[in-house]
Structure formats: structure tokens, C-alpha cells
């Protein structure tokens, strides 16, 4: 207890202050401004007290501040439970704990609080910089904890000791990470209040909504193909299907039936791939057309879009198969076909007239009407651009016959409208088209600017047929990428542009590192663990064998570390070893050799304490002094020295 109540030195206080600031600073942006400022001023106050040798605030003031802080947090959040309120409360406690640092006990509590707040950072972000920052904070906190027991070493030495301790802990950490039985779910998943503002496709499409996405270079999902990567023009990642049109925007169907499994027959060579989907807060999962299998916990809507049962709030990984040539919906229900034919009562008279003309010419022949529509789009010389002019009420007419400039949503909307007015069922499909292979790790990266809209038309006997009207006017959008298709002077995110090669290269590397982190650290789930262990030769391990392996490997590392520490001891020369034996023997009799004490001085002290053996002690010490510090020690002396010690029985 004497140790625990030893007062805290200034140096220890500085250590703890540094550790607390390192732990609290990254969390400042998560709490309200008043709390961040209050915390900062508490730290500043503490620093001033230490610097000026002033006394700590009185007990009653501390109690008052704790109450005020807790009430403040409660008033802010109306609760003190949950992630952010909890962290806010811990910050209050940390700041005030520093103001009552009195004894070594308080130092340990403060350090533990800092460790806990480091964990708290991971509740908000789990990126690599967060992890590095957390590592740094743990280092400082460990050094502060070391300083709490011994503040004499220089700060650099203290940090080195802390780093050594952490380095020794590292193998255990890795081992536990790899082998400890995993639970399903992300490492730091917090169900509520995440992803309130993530960009991505929405469940409706109006002019400009996808063009807006093209300004973002955030990753939508990453794909790893099991075999060869299909050609760029085949990479249609099916997202929300939008059959409902109100004259302005397209929406997903209000009610959707769902297939528990794929309702159409397979055709063509299947493509196998694994998607790592970034969280987007919606239900849908993106799949290459046409999806041939369903990820677990998902279903296929009646318009063949895989959807998850829960909104995608965490980074999700799933494997899938696609049949590029499958014919879907040959026996489509009349309800769906009706929905795919409905048009608003009025508007766009010119397009309706064109459609009616096709109908009159080709009758029920959907394929012929389709060809006519494609022909029309080809003839009109439409221009693909990110900055289309604003359109009025008859947007389809204005786009097709007047402005002739539009982005993919204009093309898709106009095409579907034209087909419907000719009596051919058609609908808009939103999703992503293309993607880019990261040459560093071979993953296909699909970014927000790859968002796209295309169409499907229902042709009797062939089912739903994909037509991309954008490809008619701007084939390079499909065959290459966005940058190749839009005019050079239009603003695009840096990464979507084809110049700036070095920047792209850098970004590729960064993305590959981030992806590795996502795949192997954050996304290390039971499946990953099983796969990894299987590749190490452990087929289907149960928790018992895992625990056994874990203990064995931990033991091996322990032994290794112990051996490393002992190695220096084993190097000890025989003179020193014999001397240690001798001093240990005297220590048992209450004559403790101080590690800084010279042998002759010690002998005098010991002889004074035990005059009966004084001569023997003096002789052994003199022999030791000669052997260790004298020139050219004789082997005979060493033997005599050892014999004297062996014979020495105090």
C-alpha cells in the first residue's frame, strides 16, 4: 500500500498528461464543442498547475466539476449510455482525474482510462491511420505507466522500454488475432448511428442524380474474380431496378415479390467472383448480370436484384456467380409487364407519337420495335455529357429532339419511355458499369463515378433483354471508362481522369493497402479464419483444437522470449557467476550486496557485520577483485576462488 500511496512527481504528471492528451485528442471531434473545449482547458489547467508548482484544486471543487460534467453530458444526449455519450463521459472523467492526481494509484487509473479511450477510437473509425495513432497512444501510455513506477530514466529511455514491452506483446497479439475463435460480425460493429451520410445509388433516379455521383471517387465495392476478368463491356453490376415513372423520376417498385433462389436457367460460362461491398445503408447487393447464386441472408427480387435482409451497414463480403447469357423472365407475370408499360397520362407528345408510329408499323414484334428505337437513338446524334442543359416538363422530348445532350440517366429514361409508348415493356436498371483493375493487388475497384443506368426490354420468347442506350451514342463509356466518353474539359474527380498517371499509381497502392487491411484485419471473420487455417493444413478445427494450438503457440513464444532474456545471463563468465552465488549466500544472512558496491567495500561491510567470517569474506572478495579487475587473471586463482566459495558456509 505504501507504493500505491506514494505521491506523484512532476515528471510522472507530465507523462500522464501527454498520455491523456494523446488518448483524448482523436475523440475531440466526436463530442460536442463545449465538451472538447472544457476538456482542453482542464488539460491546460493541469499543465499550468504542474508547471508553476501550484496546488491541486480542493476536493469540493473536484466533486462539483464531476457533477457538472456528468450533468452536461446527460443534458446533451439525454442519456449517459451508448457509444458517444459513454465516450463523452469517459473524457470528462479523464480530464478531471488528472486534476486529482495525488498518488501512484491515481496514475495507474489514469493510464487504464487512456487505454480504454484508445479502444473507444475504434468505435468511430477503423482505418489504418486510426490504428497507427492508437499504437502511438498505447506506446505513450505504456511509457507513462512505466514512469509511474520509476520516473528516473530519461523520456527517450522510457519510450524505448515501453516499445520493447509492446514488441514483446506483439507476437501474442498476432497469435490471438489469428487463432482466437471468431464471432460473426465485424470487429468493431456498432449497429446504430453509422453511415448516416454515405453516398451511393438511391432508390429513385431523376435527371442529374447519377451525374452527381460521378463527382465522387469513393469506392463502392471491390471485386475479386476467381477466373478471368470478363471484358469491360460485360461488367454490368445490377443494382436497383426502376419500373415506376411519374413523369420526372424513376423509382423502384413499391411492392416486390422475392425469389428464395434463382428462377431462371443457367446459360453460358459462369463467372465466379467475390464482392467486398462498402456500407451504403440500403438493402441491395450488387451482382454481375445475371446473378446465378445468392449470398447468404439475401433474396432475389421479382426484378432479379439480390437484396440483403438487413441494410448493408458494415463492410460485407460475399461470393457470387453470374451467368452472362442467362435468359431471365421468359414467362414474366402479367402484373410485372403491366408495370413495365405504364406511362404518365400526358407529356412528351413527340416521343409518344414516334412510339405509336413504330407500333403501327411493327405491331407486336418487340424485337423490330427495339431495333427501330436503337436506330432512332443512333440517328439523333445524341451527345454524352456530364453537364446536360436543364430540361422542362417534357424532358424526354426535349432531350431526344431539342437539346440532344444528356448523361446516362437521360438516355435510359428516354429509351424506356420510347419503348413503352410503342407498347414494349421496358424498365430502367441502375447500378455500376465497369470498374478498374488495381494492378497492385488485382482487385477490380468499382467507384461511385462508375454509377450507371441502362435499360431492359421484354421481348416475347427472350425475356428481359439488356440494352444500354448510352452505348449507342458513347460506346467508349462502356468499352473504356467515363473519362474516355465525356469531353475533355468537363470536371471529373482526379481519379476518373486518364492523365495524372503518378497520382493514379499512388492511389492504386494506397487502395491496395486499404483493401488488404479491410480484407484481412477488419474483415477477418469466421469464414476467413477457417480458410486461412485450412490453407495452413488445419481442416475444420473446432474450438478445442484451436484453444490447444493457441496455448501451445503462446507457450512457444513465451519460451522464445524467456530464452532471449536468459541468453544474456548465460553469457555470464564463471567469475561473475560464482560471485553471485557468494553474494546470494550472504544476502540470506542479511548482508545484501548492493549492485553498485565495489567488492572490497562490500567485504568490509559484511566482515563488520559478521566478524567471525570476516577473514573468509575478505579473502574471497580480494580474489574476486583480482580476477575481475586485475591484469591477466590466473586459472589457479579462479579455482581457488571457486573452492573458497564452495567451502564458505556462514
Amino acid at each position: 500500500m505504501a507504493r500505491a500511496s506514494r505521491p506523484i512527481s512532476r515528471r510522472q504528471t507530465w507523462w500522464l498528461l501527454a498520455s491523456a492528451i494523446a488518448a483524448a485528442a482523436p475523440l475531440a471531434q466526436q463530442v460536442p464543442l463545449w465538451l472538447a473545449l472544457a476538456g482542453a482547458s482542464a488539460f491546460g489547467w493541469r499543465a499550468l498547475l504542474t508547471w508553476q508548482h501550484w496546488r491541486l484544486p480542493p476536493r469540493w471543487l473536484q466533486v462539483l466539476l464531476v457533477i457538472a460534467g456528468t450533468v452536461g453530458v446527460f443534458l446533451q444526449y439525454r442519456t449517459i449510455l451508448g457509444r458517444t455519450p459513454g465516450i463523452a463521459l469517459l473524457l470528462v472523467f479523464l480530464a478531471l482525474k488528472l486534476l486529482e492526481l495525488r498518488a501512484a494509484r491515481d496514475a495507474v487509473v489514469t493510464a487504464l482510462l487512456c487505454y480504454f479511450l484508445v479502444l473507444g477510437q475504434f468505435l468511430f473509425t477503423q482505418t489504418i491511420p486510426t490504428a497507427m495513432l492508437a499504437g502511438l497512444t498505447v506506446l505513450i501510455t505504456t511509457a507513462a505507466l512505466l514512469a509511474a513506477s520509476d520516473d528516473r530514466p530519461h523520456p527517450r529511455q522510457q519510450l524505448r522500454r515501453a516499445a520493447l514491452l509492446l514488441a514483446q506483446a506483439l507476437p501474442f497479439m498476432l497469435l490471438l488475432f489469428v487463432l482466437f475463435p471468431r464471432v460473426q460480425g465485424p470487429l468493431w460493429g456498432i449497429p446504430q448511428d453509422r453511415f448516416s451520410a454515405v453516398s451511393g445509388l438511391s432508390d429513385s433516379m431523376s435527371p442529374g442524380s447519377i451525374a452527381q455521383l460521378s463527382q465522387s471517387d469513393a469506392i463502392a465495392f471491390r471485386v475479386q474474380f476467381k477466373g478471368e476478368v470478363p471484358p469491360q463491356s460485360q461488367l454490368y453490376w445490377r443494382g436497383p431496378v426502376m419500373p415506376a415513372f411519374d413523369g420526372r423520376s424513376w423509382r423502384v417498385a413499391q411492392t416486390m415479390g422475392a425469389y428464395p433462389e434463382v428462377p431462371y436457367a443457367g446459360a453460358g460460362t459462369p463467372v465466379e467472383y467475390e464482392v467486398t461491398l462498402e456500407p451504403h445503408g440500403k438493402h441491395w447487393l450488387f451482382a454481375l448480370e445475371m446473378p446465378a447464386s445468392l449470398p447468404p441472408e439475401s433474396a432475389l427480387t421479382s426484378d432479379y436484384q439480390p437484396v440483403a435482409r438487413q441494410p448493408v451497414r458494415n463492410r460485407t463480403r460475399y461470393t457470387q456467380r453470374a451467368w452472362p447469357e442467362a435468359l431471365a423472365g421468359i414467362d414474366e407475370t402479367p402484373g410485372s409487364l403491366r408495370a413495365a408499360l405504364s406511362l404518365p397520362k400526358d407529356g412528351n407528345p413527340r416521343t409518344r407519337a414516334v412510339g405509336a408510329a413504330w407500333r403501327a408499323e411493327h405491331g407486336e414484334d418487340g424485337a423490330a420495335i427495339l431495333a427501330a428505337a436503337q436506330n432512332l437513338f443512333n440517328r439523333q446524334l445524341l451527345i454524352y455529357t456530364l453537364n446536360p442543359p436543364l430540361l422542362g416538363a417534357d424532358m424526354v422530348d426535349e432531350f431526344l429532339f431539342d437539346s440532344k445532350r444528356g448523361f446516362c440517366e437521360h438516355f435510359a429514361a428516354a429509351f424506356v419511355f420510347a419503348l413503352r409508348s410503342a407498347g414494349v415493356p421496358a424498365r430502367v436498371v441502375a447500378g455500376y458499369q465497369g470498374g478498374e483493375i488495381n494492378p497492385v493487388d488485382g482487385y477490380l475497384e468499382v467507384r461511385q463515378y462508375d454509377a450507371h443506368a441502362w435499360t431492359e426490354a421484354w421481348i416475347a420468347g427472350r425475356g428481359w433483354v439488356r440494352i444500354d442506350p448510352t452505348a449507342i451514342s458513347a460506346p467508349s463509356r462502356i468499352n473504356n471508362n467515363l473519362a474516355a466518353a465525356v469531353p475533355a474539359n468537363e470536371g471529373l474527380p482526379l481519379l476518373a481522369r486518364s492523365d495524372m498517371a503518378w497520382l493514379k499509381e499512388l492511389r492504386y497502392r494506397l487502395d491496395a493497402v486499404t483493401n488488404g487491411w479491410n480484407q484481412w484485419v477488419l474483415g477477418y471473420n469466421p469464414q476467413r479464419q477457417r480458410d486461412l487455417l485450412a490453407s495452413l493444413g488445419l481442416k475444420e478445427p473446432d474450438w478445442r483444437s484451436m484453444t490447444a494450438i493457441l496455448s501451445v503457440l503462446c507457450g512457444v513464444i513465451m519460451l522464445g522470449l524467456a530464452g532471449w532474456i536468459l541468453r544474456n545471463r548465460l553469457h555470464v563468465d564463471p567469475v561473475l557467476a560464482a560471485w553471485r552465488k557468494f553474494t546470494a549466500r550472504l544476502a540470506r544472512r542479511g548482508m545484501v550486496w548492493q549492485p553498485w558496491e565495489g567488492p572490497l567495500d562490500f567485504a568490509e561491510r559484511a566482515a563488520a557485520a559478521d566478524p567471525a567470517h570476516g577473514e573468509g569474506i575478505r579473502e574471497i572478495a580480494a580474489l574476486y577483485a583480482g580476477l575481475r579487475y586485475g591484469p591477466a587473471p590466473q586459472a589457479a586463482d579462479l579455482i581457488r576462488f571457486k573452492n573458497r566459495i564452495a567451502a564458505f558456509r556462514p
Binding site: R11, R152, P153, H154, R156, Q157, Q594, P595, W596, E597, G598, P599, L600, D601, A625, G626, R628, Y629, G630, P631
Partner: protein
């Protein structure tokens, strides 16, 4: 192997300087290590007597230079005077041309005069008017200085202090020694009666033997550990320099020789440590009146023997 002449010398000095065995032994060690000695103490504790006695028992010439604030370098080194008879300049050596110099109250002189002495100490030769003259061998300077907080002093800068191998304090004698001093015969007469115990040639021989005293790797490691601790620990402004480490080893060797040993022990290093670090280490919290023995003791206890 004991050196009876050294024991006799110590016995002679201790008969006159009463109750100061340790400083006396340190000053002899300092001569044996071919270093110079700085004594910082109040007036009247026997600094001059110690210098005088050392010179007598070692059979060396002795001069005393009283430093004053109006002193010029020529007052120490000597001047050339025109000799009308021969029609040329003739060099009159200053008081420094002797074997034992007592530089009394060195910190009362101006830095200019101080540096004249200190350069001569370092070079063991004097260059005056374009001519270099070697100083006699052995050459030993005992400088005394009043504690720096006294009025009218020019404290020596650290770089100059480093030229002294050791800095010791005599301090007041204890009650018994003082009683004996007061009751006994006049010290001046006793000094006058002393005869040399050793030939100057033998002293040079002993100085050579000191350099041959063995310092084992373990001991050198210990000296390094001490220095490393002063360099890393926040207690001191600056750590011990390599020159300070050399000084520590040199005095420890002489100390071992005085004990009749041919090798240095950690005890020797520890015994001379206060004198070596007294004027070289400055504590970080610059409290002027730190007890150097306590400081050295803390340093010793912080560094385990390797």
C-alpha cells in the same frame, strides 16, 4: 606491492595537516596522475600549508603566486628586460618556473591573468616574446579559489576548470584535530623542519607507473556506465565528457597505486569520483550549495557495476 616512500610522505603530511587524510591522499594522487589540483575553500583552512608541505616532502621547488585583480600575465610568466651591459634583452623567468606552484586565490585575478597560468598548465611550457621555454619536470599547480559567491571574484569558466584534474575541499577540521592544532607547535616551523622523502627522479618514475596500472574491460565499462548515466539522467545539465572519463580513470589509477595495487577497482573510481565531477557536472536545478559528496553518492548508487 606497497610503496613505503608514498606511505611515509602521507604520514608526514598528515602530521601537519590534521584530520584531512582523504583530501591529502587525493592531492598526492593528483600529482601522481600528472594533473593539477584545484582547492576551493574558505581562507584559513590550510590550503597554503598543504601546498607547501607537498613541495617539501616531495623535494620540489616551490613558488607561491598571490593572484590579485591588477595582475598581468607577465607577473606570472616573466618579462624581458633590457640589459645595458650586454646591450640585449634578457628574460627574467616569472614565478611559474618552478616545480610546485601555489596559485593562491586564482579567481581574484582577471581572466587574462588566469588564462596565462592555465595555458602554461596545459602546455607545460611558456611562450613569451616569441620564445618557448619548457617548464620544469615534474610540474604541479595547486590553485586555490574562494567560493565563487564571495565578492570581487572572476569565476573560472567551465572550459578552464576542466584543466584541473581534481577539485577538492579541505573544510573545517573536526574538534579533536582542531584541538591538537591549537595545542601543538607552530605549523610554519614544522614545515621548515621537513625534509624530502623522495627524489624528483623517483617521483617521475612513480608517475610513469601510475599509467601502467591495469584497468580491466569490466572497469572501463563501469566508467562508461557512469558517464552514460550522467548524460541521460535529467539531473544534470550536461554529462561527463570523454576527457572527464579519462581524468576519472587517471586519478583512479593513482589511487590504486597509493593502495599498492596494480589494477583499478570500482572502489577506486568511487573514491575519486567526487573530486573529478565536482567542477565538471552541473546539476540541472542549479542550486549553488549542493554537497558534492552527496551528489556523487547518488550517482554511484544509481549505476550498478557491470
Amino acid at each position: 606491492m606497497r610503496y613505503p616512500e608514498l606511505d611515509a610522505i602521507l604520514a608526514d603530511i598528515n602530521r601537519i595537516i590534521l584530520g584531512k587524510e582523504r583530501p591529502v591522499r587525493l592531492s598526492l594522487a593528483c600529482i601522481l596522475a600528472r594533473g593539477h589540483l584545484l582547492i576551493e575553500d574558505l581562507p584559513g583552512v590550510g590550503k597554503t600549508t598543504l601546498a607547501h608541505v607537498l613541495a617539501r616532502v616531495l623535494g620540489l621547488d616551490f613558488h607561491r603566486i598571490q593572484f590579485t585583480s591588477d595582475m598581468l600575465p607577465a607577473d606570472i610568466l616573466g618579462v624581458s628586460i633590457f640589459d645595458r651591459g650586454s646591450g640585449s634583452f634578457h628574460f627574467h623567468p616569472g614565478p611559474i618556473f618552478t616545480q610546485v606552484v601555489l596559485a593562491d586565490e586564482i579567481n581574484r585575478a582577471t581572466p587574462k591573468a588566469q588564462s596565462a597560468l592555465l595555458e602554461a598548465m596545459e602546455e607545460r611550457q611558456v611562450t613569451a616574446e616569441g620564445e618557448t621555454r619548457p617548464l620544469p619536470e615534474p610540474f604541479f599547480v595547486i590553485a586555490t579559489q574562494n567560493p565563487t559567491h564571495q565578492i570581487g571574484t572572476f569565476p573560472l569558466p567551465e572550459s578552464q576548470l576542466d584543466r584541473f584534474l581534481l577539485k577538492i575541499q579541505l573544510g573545517y577540521p573536526d574538534a579533536a584535530a582542531e584541538r591538537e592544532l591549537l595545542a601543538g607547535t607552530d605549523r610554519q616551523q614544522m614545515v621548515a623542519r621537513l625534509g624530502p622523502r623522495i627524489a624528483p627522479q623517483r617521483l617521475v618514475e612513480l608517475q610513469t607507473q601510475v599509467r601502467a596500472v591495469h584497468a580491466s574491460p569490466a572497469l572501463i565499462e563501469y566508467v562508461q556506465a557512469l558517464a552514460a548515466h550522467t548524460r541521460n539522467a535529467p539531473r544534470w545539465q550536461t554529462g561527463l565528457s570523454p576527457r572527464a572519463c579519462l581524468a576519472l580513470l587517471a586519478v583512479a589509477r593513482a589511487w590504486a597505486l597509493l593502495d599498492g595495487r596494480d589494477h583499478v577497482l570500482p572502489e577506486d573510481v568511487q573514491a575519486v569520483l567526487p573530486g573529478v565531477i565536482a567542477h565538471r557536472l552541473r546539476p540541472a536545478d542549479d542550486t549553488a550549495h549542493t554537497d558534492i559528496d552527496a551528489v556523487a553518492g547518488a550517482l554511484i548508487e544509481a549505476v550498478p557495476l557491470p
